[in-house]
Symmetry: C2
Subunit: 386 residues, 2 copies
């Protein structure tokens, strides 16, 4: 076992403790809800529930009626919910229910007098919707867009936590980069990255860490690490982020093992320039599709855009993929507090691929990059121990 | 870094390779679908898609029309989907769509002539349902229960894979159990368990590994590991499973550090006897609620049932929680091929808790336990290195 991580974890607990959920968040929600006692609201998105109450478990509903928040959860989480809500100084009642029928009955009783219940239609299954429609004496009305994206703009504490998650992923990559020249397989490098992030204080990887090597695997943008050995001449894509206090980071670097071929060099430079161009236009007031267009323009000029087969980025917070998304048809206007990835990539079966990704926060006048990992792609050729 | 895991991973790839998805699975689906070209089916549950096609990515729809399967996914996954479908010898077309609008248009075109489209109402969001209802020229009809639980009964290959996942978790716990007496924190033990499972060939933990120690944390059934130090006198619950080729394992053992108090001993024996009683009734034809009742009866007799605050178990497969669920109101009849947990527990704030859990497969005449970890709860007192 490496050095215990207690020290770094304690540091992070401190950050978490300062993430006290003031009544400001509930107020933000009240601001967009229909007013009065004739309307109540049922929040089922667990990230929204965490954001509003501090509860981090895997099963709960949050009922809001007459400016009062009630969390319904099951026996696995009652104690935990009370403690987390207490730490986050949220003003929320906790109610234990052992069955879905009891959750529905409690929701009905909590929203007594309401003629409509606003709900999250992108989160709730159609099956549950139908059940609620039968059981509740109120019209179910989808929460409008302003209510859906309450979490989108991050406050200072949230940005501080995300930044610490970025720092952990940066440090883990620094520690593990040398492994790329040791004849290991993709899975082995992934294991060490994940372990290193935890020893640096992360709760875990913030998504399935990607290590994609060689002409077939690196040509798959979301490749899952295998026993494929990393070899001289391979392009290698590493997409890695850390989870800290529920918040995610997201970063990609690409490498070549040994000397780069001319084509590898041309492709890598195109991706890197494309990513820089995207970051260069990130600022308040710009439409998300323009960031995508800025990245794509560089690749069009290089004659390589056909190999950029995915969108340019997405928001990151309590979810690894959240609003605002950045692609050619994205209409969201970037605003201060948006935390988004900029991650163009090029992929071709038989060749491999490259992707470069940073997490940026939109500031008053532009943006700030939250990752610090260098973008030098060259790794030494294999140093085989015999 | 510990020893590389390439060897064990190669062994597991072999198992995976034999998990070829014969046309039998699609046939099982065709058997429950409405017949004829007037009906098509849209599968959105990613575990069902994996089971039917081998595709393991995070974004796809599967359209079935006139006994033909078409997988719609985005540019991140096109190459991967074709390769995985090929390995699994599934007969499926892959179609790339970059936007949800394109996915809907493709679904429409693929189900041309169908007057109804069966869909998975427990998986599809109400928002997507409304969108499809507007865009498609066909009635949307929920797939009935027989279509929902196609994956429930595991075949021999699936059981072999789940068994290998159990073996990995057993071995990891054997390797790491000694850490409980070394003055580490919960998070440190979790980190070593997860790392050990990977070195033994797992793709990762099959859920967030639980290490819950002491009077507060061990009283929370789904506690998330913290910097809390494991100390003499603590009860410790470890709930750990491995992920192999998409399949999960699930196992819990409970410990006491140093000598057990009389109360700890009484509680532990009650939980252990309760779990044995549950396993003793697991056989084909029994209603799931009877397994729950058998566990609960032992705890009632011990006067401790008020501290058993959750259900007794759940099915395990491509999802960690799936049908059949085992609780006091569960009506499912257990059948050969069901793989379920039996996991009673007792929890009390200020005391701590115990849970004992095995994964069992229902056989022709009874059941077989898939875990082999010993159930001796006693760990040596702390061996502090000074």
């Amino acid at each position: 076992m490496n050095s215990p991580s207690t020290q770094s974890r304690d540091f992070l607990s401190e950050i978490t403790m300062t993430a006290q959920i003031s009544s400001a968040r509930a107020e933000r929600l009240f601001g967009v809800l229909s007013q009065g006692t004739s309307s109540s609201c049922l929040i089922t998105d667990l990230s929204d529930i965490r954001w509003l109450t501090g509860f981090s478990g895997s099963h709960a509903w949050l009922v809001i009626h007459a400016n009062k928040l009630s969390l319904i959860t099951d026996g696995r989480y009652t104690e935990q919910a009370r403690a987390e809500i207490d730490v986050h100084q949220a003003n929320v009642d906790v109610i234990e229910c052992r069955t879905q029928a009891a959750m529905i009955a409690t929701t009905k009783s909590l929203s007594q007098g309401a003629s409509e219940i606003q709900f999250q239609d992108s989160d709730m299954s159609h099956q549950l919707f139908c059940l609620l429609q039968t059981e509740l004496n109120a019209a179910l009305v989808p929460l409008d867009a302003s209510g859906k994206f309450l979490r989108r703009f991050k406050d200072e504490t949230e940005i501080k936590i995300i930044e610490s998650a970025c720092r952990i992923a940066d440090q883990a990559l620094t520690q593990c980069r040398g492994l790329l020249s040791q004849g290991l397989c993709e899975g082995d490098v992934r294991d060490e990255l994940d372990y290193a992030m935890r020893k640096l204080g992360a709760d875990g990887p913030s998504y399935d860490t990607i290590v994609a090597s060689g002409p077939i695997n690196a040509a798959r943008p979301h490749h899952h690490p295998t026993t494929t050995k990393i070899e001289d001449g391979h392009t290698v894509i590493i997409d890695v982020g850390a989870l800290v206090a529920g918040y995610h980071s997201d970063m990609t670097r690409s490498f070549v093992i040994g000397p780069m071929s001319v084509e590898q060099s041309e492709w890598y430079e195109a991706v890197r320039a494309s990513q820089q161009a995207g970051i260069a236009v990130c600022r308040p007031g710009i439409q998300a599709s323009e960031v995508d267009a800025a990245c794509r323009k560089v690749l069009i000029e290089a004659g390589l855009d056909q190999y950029f087969t995915h969108g340019t980025g997405h928001g990151v917070g309590l979810m690894i993929h959240e609003e605002p998304f950045i692609n050619s048809s994205a209409t969201a206007i970037l605003q201060p507090g948006d935390v988004v990835t900029v991650e163009p990539g090029l992929y071709r079966g038989g060749f491999g691929g490259f992707r470069v990704e940073d997490l940026v926060v939109i500031t008053e006048h532009g943006c700030r990059i939250l990752n610090t990992s260098p973008k030098d792609p060259i790794c030494p050729p294999l140093q085989l121990t015999t």
